[in-house]
Amino acid sequence: MVSAPPPPETSAKIQVQVRDLTIRYGSKVALEKVSLDIREHEIFGIIGPANSGKTSFLRALNRMDQMHSSMKVDGQILFRGKDVHSWRNLYALRSKIGVVFPLPVGLPLSIYDNVALAPRLSGTKNKSDLDEIVERCLQRAALWDEVKDRLDSLGSMLSGGQQQRLTIARALSQDPELLLLDEFSIAVDPVTTMKIEDVLKELKKEITIILVTNLVQQARRLADNTAFFLTGECIEVAKTEDLFTGEVKDPRSRDYVEGRFG
């Protein structure tokens, strides 16, 4: 599939609006005064070396600061026009946002239960509804054909690449509007990585994706717009093509994508 050019900036609705986002762990500042917009149905790439605040950014979006007492978040994150800090039901917020981690997490449950867990916890009891969700999510994550005959076997016994696709299926199980991917390909072989990248291009038609990645070329392949984070600062937000053709405001961005540091 050929990825469509990013829609003109004026027409696409803004899905996530971040203003002056600062994240601290105790006295350590992980991210400082970041402002950016993420549009509906785009893949928004975030690149940057280790310790640049990429993961903290994703955690703040999903309000994980509420689960970690040392994490403090200031500034505004508007999701669908509403500040995530004003959502009274955080569990509902998180069910609208799917998350995939760097290392695959197959929960020690059956493949079926891995995917059905979240819908079950939020009240879906009907067996045929659950069957439908499990099949649809595994299909979308390009895992269905490999596991459809052994849905009862343990998710944690799958291979790394399969577990990562299981994690994606699980993240899709509540029909999220936003999918956060944190360096998903770090523990996955190149073939599976390409499979997942195809999945993401397909998913983009329906949901918004934020892709944190260490692989600059992966951002180039997938992202419509890309932000460059460096030691807690957002150096640059630009159309991905501009970033790679050198049309950047800050020379450090060019140096990073060209591999001169980081």
Binding site: N62, M64, M67, S69, S70, L90, Y91, A92, L93, R94, S95, I97, G98, V99, F101, L103, V105, G106, L107, P108, L109, L117, A118, L121, S122, L154, S156, M157, T167, R170, A171, S173, Q174
Partner: protein, 289 residues
């Protein structure tokens, strides 16, 4: 050509020496256990019989069996577990899964460790003051079991907390990120994967409770009773106290009798420990990650 230097040779000699030193220490550790068991089996073995287990003591406790003490110990342990397991497991879940890492939590953790270090006779006095007198339970199974429960709570809490923390943090993060509450995460992912460790801890606690003497001496265990307890407000005989009594308090007890009582007590404890180990092995084979 490689030549061993004198440094190489010395390191090798030291390695051998250290290894045998540690082996010696391990053997020294096993020796007393073997001697105890050997003496108990040799001296107490001949008295073991169905009659010994299931009849009452007779002739001023110089003959007969140990039935009321056996039943009493089962009572004491069971009632103590009914209190210590729910409280201990709930407290451990709070400390491991909910408590923020602040000075209060650290203080509570410190208190738990210290509680484990309180001598059992001090627990006994506390039980006498609190349960027997203040709450007015009298010397009863209830008062004795509550004392035992408080004494064993730290063991339950620490072992439960360790089992909970053995479950990888990534599992919790994955659940939270899906919108699961802490309790849903605990209920569906953390507990099912730590239950083997929790149960092992509980069984080890049972064996500890069964052997305690001081805490029940003032609070509920009787010297001699010619009948079985009918409820938790009755006094009872207990194996551990019975062993103390026939060994030191009653004149004219034949030599083999106390060894028989001790052998039964230690067999009870070992059986429970063995169950615990077998159970742990069974569940470990089913481990899912």
């Amino acid at each position: 050509m490689f030549e061993a230097t004198s440094l190489n040779r010395r390191n090798r000699q030291k390695e051998g020496l250290v290894r045998y030193l540690f082996l010696l220490m391990t053997l020294l550790l096993i020796l007393p256990v073997l001697i105890i068991l050997g003496v108990l089996v040799a001296k107490g073995g001949p008295v073991l019989s169905m009659d010994f287990l299931f009849t009452y003591p007779t002739d001023g406790m110089t003959a007969g069996g140990i039935f009321p003490a056996l039943v009493g110990t089962v009572w004491l342990v069971t009632v103590a577990l009914l209190f210590s397991v729910p409280i201990g497991v709930a407290a451990a879940i709070y400390l491991s899964e909910y408590a923020p890492d602040n000075w209060l939590t650290r203080l509570i953790n410190l208190a738990i460790i210290n509680l484990a270090g309180v001598p059992s006779i001090v627990h006994a006095l506390f039980g006498l003051g609190a349960f027997v007198m203040f709450f007015g339970f009298g010397t009863s199974i209830l008062a004795a079991s509550l004392t035992l429960a408080i004494m064993t709570l730290p063991v339950v809490i620490v072992s439960t907390r360790e089992s909970l923390q053995a479950v990888p943090m990534a599992f919790r993060e994955a659940c939270w990120n899906m919108g699961a509450t802490r309790w849903q995460t605990i209920r569906h992912v953390v507990l099912p994967n730590s239950i083997s460790g929790i149960l092992t801890g509980v069984i080890l606690e049972v064996s500890r409770t069964a052997g305690e003497t001081a805490p029940i001496m003032f609070t509920g265990a009787a010297f001699f009773l010619p009948f079985l307890p009918q409820g938790i407000f009755d006094q009872t005989m207990a194996m551990s106290l019975h062993l103390f009594v026939v060994s030191t308090q009653v004149p004219g007890v034949p030599e083999h009798l106390p060894y028989g009582v001790a052998l039964v007590l230690i067999l009870m404890v070992l059986t429970m420990n063995a169950t615990s180990i077998a159970f742990r092995m069974y569940l470990r084979n089913k481990k899912k990650w």
